[in-house]
Amino acid sequence: MNDHPEELLAGYTEGSLGANERARVEAHLATCDACQEEVDLAAEGLTTLSSLPELDPPKGIPFRVRRKAGGTPSRAWRFAGAAAAAAVLIGGGVFVFTNLDPASLEGEGSAPQGAEPESAPLPRTGSSEGGGAGEQEAGVEATDAQLAAAPVLPIYVESRRNYDSEDLAPLARRLRDDANAAVRSGLAPTARSFFEDFDPSAYTPDVRRAVGCVLADVPPQQLIVPYRIEAASFEAAPAYVATFLQGPTPDEPYDRLVMWVAHRETCGLMSLASQVL
């Protein structure tokens, strides 16, 4: 049965064979009713398919891609980012990561290619006032007030502040001081002790979402304590600036503060800062 020129029949049906091949097929068809029947059917199939209309894709595919890619980016990669942060911190000081994953950075506010909006100069977190920094300052003050009375974590702040990567290190240093004060004021000193007396069901929806964005990328055995959630903007995109406390192990005192910036809609990691306590 191997003399049926099957590999030529598709080309024959669509008329793309050269003269020699075409003659060979026609010679075969003259003696093979089965192949002739198939060629007739194939021609019908081809005509039918070429009549199929092209459909419009549903709206929102690009957004769905961004959302899915940002919501569950490659975990190995994000762990690697956290590990790198830890490694840098052995030397002390602040290290800020940005642009960790182009995929996760695709917010709804993305500009067309080649037209990235320039970051407007922003008041530094440490500066006294200006622009949208007022809410931010108020938030930090509220932190102190709350902690002085009774540590209720995480502190939740909404602000119109538009952060960029350079704002994170100063903010991390400020929150470090706050967190150290909170521990001195009686905040449970280790992650284990914190969670012994903590009810996650008390989270507000915003806090739950922000914490969920971060915890999705943290191994479950690695306990981190939600310290402060700020719903703000980062490089003009809606973002949570979520600050956590972490020790070398859940049973050792916190030794660093980690600040995750996650897109409020996609959960995608936008930046990460870490600060030794």
């Binding site: 549903p58 595919i61 769905r64 993305s110 290619q113």
Partner: protein, 190 residues
Amino acid sequence: MADPSDEELIRRHLAGDRSAFGALVERHQRRVYNLTYRMLGRPEDAADATQDTFVTCMRKLASFRGTSAFTTWLHRVAVNICYDALRKRSREIPVEEGEHASEAAPGDLAEESASAVDVQRALLRVPEEFRAVLVLHDVQGVPYQDIAESLGAPVGTVKSRLHRGRVALARALHGEHSRGSHTSKERGTS
């Protein structure tokens, strides 16, 4: 100024340009959606498969070497995602009549004309490996060589599947069971 090439957009994406991959999605979503729709026959499944295709591509883009065109790679990813979806569907949906198992549910094809609905239903009865070649070549006009690269099959196999797929489609339209062609060297797909 001409639109940037796919390769240029990939380079920008890998360099951190946040908008570059979105431009690739905008450019190719129609092609991928139509491919996945013709493979799966349900708009919502096709939308999911289209999304998953781009997400997979985005995550693996760093490993894309550019030895073949981006679209060739995109087709490979999309077809494999469709195969996975069809396998999953065959496990999840109670099958009463085998050849109807992958048919579109009533109403799914409402946007298409009656004849296009018939063709789509017939297409879903064509074995999926033939269907992929049919859709890529006869619906989307992809050349044999590119399909062979996408599917990792010799060009001769692509041509054979194409012929057998066309025959199977015509038979399905006539209400016959798909049975490939009498010249078949390959066995039908599982």
